[in-house]
C-alpha cells in the first residue's frame, strides 16, 4: 500500500515537471522536397518471350524521399519501442517502394500476388534471402543496424525497394507532393538531410523554436 502511494506521488511529480511553464516544448520541421533529376523507372526488362504490351512505367513511387535529422537529440536514442512495418509485394511491385523505420523494427514481406516472389538483399546493413513463397504467405526480417537496405526480388529483376533504418525517430517519408513533417523535436539546431533513391542532399541547418515549427525545402538534382 505504502509503495503504491509513493509510486503515485512520484508519477504526479513527473507529470507536474513535464507540464510546468519552464519546460521546453517540442517543435517541428516541415517543408517540401523537389526532385529535379531524372528518376529511374520501375519498368521491367524488355521481355522478349513473355506476352503483353509493356505497360507504361510508373514514376510516382520513385519521387518519394526521406527527410531526417543527421544528428538527433540525445534523448532520441532512448526507449525506441520495437515496431512492425509492412512492405507488400503487389502487382510485381514492392509497396511501399521506400520505407523508413527505426532499429529493432520487424518488417513483414507478405506476398499479395498469385505468383511466387523471392525477397532478398545484399546490403551490408542487412543481408538476407527469404526464399520463394506463395500468395497469402509472409516472411519477416528484423533490422537491428542503422543504414540503407536495398531490397530485390530474385525472380522479378525489376522489383526493388529501399528500407532506411534509423537509430532515432526524427525522420519522415514525403507524400505524393513531396511534403514532409517531422514533429516532436526538442528545441535546438539540427542538420537536416533529404534522401531520394540513393542521393542525399547536403546537410542543412534548421533551428526548431520552442513549441514552434520551421520550414525547410530541398531540391535534389
Amino acid at each position: 500500500m505504502t509503495r503504491g502511494i509513493t509510486f503515485g506521488i512520484g508519477l504526479s511529480l513527473l507529470w507536474l515537471t513535464a507540464v510546468s511553464p519552464d519546460a521546453a516544448r517540442n517543435g517541428s520541421i516541415r517543408g517540401r522536397v523537389e526532385i529535379r533529376r531524372a528518376v529511374a523507372s520501375a519498368a521491367p526488362r524488355a521481355s522478349l518471350t513473355d506476352g503483353g504490351v509493356l505497360k507504361a512505367p510508373d514514376f510516382t513511387d520513385r519521387l518519394r524521399s526521406v527527410v531526417y535529422l543527421e544528428t538527433a537529440p540525445r534523448a532520441a536514442f532512448e526507449q525506441i519501442d520495437p515496431a512492425h512495418a509492412v512492405m507488400d509485394q503487389r502487382n510485381e511491385t514492392f509497396v511501399p517502394h521506400l520505407l523508413a523505420i527505426t532499429t529493432g523494427t520487424t518488417v513483414d514481406f507478405p506476398n499479395s500476388d498469385r505468383i511466387y516472389h523471392n525477397v532478398f538483399s545484399l546490403s551490408k546493413t542487412k543481408t538476407f534471402d527469404l526464399g520463394r513463397y506463395a500468395a497469402g504467405r509472409s516472411q519477416s526480417v528484423r533490422f537491428d543496424r542503422p543504414g540503407i537496405v536495398r531490397v530485390f526480388c530474385d525472380i522479378h529483376s525489376h522489383m526493388n525497394a529501399f528500407i532506411l533504418v534509423f537509430n532515432h525517430r526524427f525522420f519522415d517519408v514525403t507524400d505524393a507532393d513531396g511534403r514532409y513533417h517531422i514533429d516532436n523535436i526538442p528545441p535546438g539546431t539540427y542538420n537536416v538531410i533529404a534522401w531520394n533513391e540513393g542521393l542525399a542532399s547536403e546537410p542543412r541547418a534548421a533551428s526548431v523554436p520552442d513549441g514552434g515549427s520551421t520550414e525547410l525545402d530541398f531540391q535534389l538534382r
Binding site: S41, P44, R45, A134, N160
Partner: protein, 446 residues
Amino acid sequence: MCRSSRLGHYNFLKMRTFRRRLRLWRDSPDRPSGPKAIPPRRLSQIAAVILITSGLAGPAAAQSLPSEPIVFGDGHVTVGADVSATVSCAQTTGLGSCGDDTGFFNYSDYEYSTLRMFRVDVNAIVRASRSLAVVADVRSDNGEGPRPYALYVRLRPWSQYNLDINGGRVPPTFGAFPRRTYASDNLLIGYPLAYQYLTSLRADAVPANADELLRMRGRGWLSSFSIGNLTPERGVPLATAFRWDTGVQVHSGWAWGDATGAVTTGSLSDPQVSGDNLGKQVAGRFAFHPEPGLVLGVSAARGQFLSGGAARAVGAEGGNSDQTAIGADAEYSRGYYLVRFEAVRSMWTIPTIPQPLIATGGWIEGRYKFHPRFYAAARFDHLGFSSITGTTRTADWDAPVTRIELGGGFLLQRNLQLKASFQRNTREGGRVTNLNIGSAQLVFWF
C-alpha cells in the same frame, strides 16, 4: 612403346592432322561466315573490363553503369541488356591441361563454342500505344557485327483480354528452355544438349543412304553428305535456342495457364528469316500453372525440314522431308530450391533413309541457394538416337551424348554475377569420346 602410349601418339597425330584440316577449312573462302571462338586471354581481358566498369573499382564507378532498364521517350522506350564473357579450359592431354573443346560438345549453330564467348545482347521495346509495341533484340558475339536476334510487332487487340499477336521474327513457341537463353537466366554455363548439340543432320544436304549417315556419327560440328550442298557444314540441333523463326504467333494467358501457337517459315532445327524450304511449320505449347511455383508444359511442332534445294535434289518437293517434335517440361520451386525437367523428342523424315530418324533429349537441373549471394546448381543431360541399318551394321544414327554439369553462381552485386561450372561430356562415338571442361562466366545485365 606400350599400347596406351602408341594410341596416345596416334591420337595426337590424328588430332594434329585434324586441326590442320580444320584451320585450312576455317581459312578457306568457302567457309560460311560466322563468329569465331575468341581466345581465352582476350576473354579474360573483357571480363576484367566488365568487372571494373560495373562498380568493383569504386563507388564512383558504381554509378557509371545502369542497374535498371533505361527508359526514355516519355516511357515509350525501354532498353535492357545482357552482357556475358565466358572462358573455359578443356582437359585435353592430362590433369591440369587447358585446351579447346576438341570434341565440339559445346559448339552451337554459329560455329563457335558457347563456353568461349563474349556476348552483348541489347533488347528494346518501343511502345507505340496501349495495344501495339515493337520488340527488338540485337546480339553481337565475340565482338563481331550486331545481328538481329528478334524483331517483331506485338499487338494486343483487346486490352481487356490477355491475347497477343506477334508478327516477324518471333520468340520460340516450342519448349521451356528457349525462354531462358540469356546468360542471366541460365543456372549453369552450358546449354541443354537438345537445344545446343549439333547432330550430323543438315537441312541443306542429304545422306545418300544409311551408311553415309552412319559415317557422320559424332561429327555434327562439320557434317557433309553427297546430295544437296556438298560443302562441309554444321549439323542441326533438335531445336535451336539461338535463332528465332519468322512468322506469326498468338499467345494467350490465364491465371492457371497459357497457350501459344505459331506458323513460321523454318523448322525447330533450322529456323529461317525467309523460308528456303517448301512448307510452313506449325507449333504449339500449353503451360499449366496449377499452383504458384509449379509449371507443367507440353509442346509440339511439325514442319518441312529440308531446304528447297535439298528436297528437289532427292525428289521430295511434295513433302516427305519433315520434322515432327514433341516436348514436355516441368518446373517446381519453393523456398531455396528450384528443379526443372525437360524432354524433347524429334523425328525427321529423310527420303533416302527408310526409317524415321528419332532423337530424344532429356535433362533435369536443380539449384539450391544457400546464401543470398551463392547458389549451387547441377544438370544431368542425355541425348539419344534411334537405330538405323546400313549395309554392314545397325547402329544409332548419331552418337549418344551424356553431359553432367556441376556449378554455381556468386552475385557480386544485384546485376553482376560470376558463375563457374565443371562439365563431364561422354559420347559413344566420334573422334573425342570423353572431355572434361571447366568454365567461368561473368554476366552483367540491366
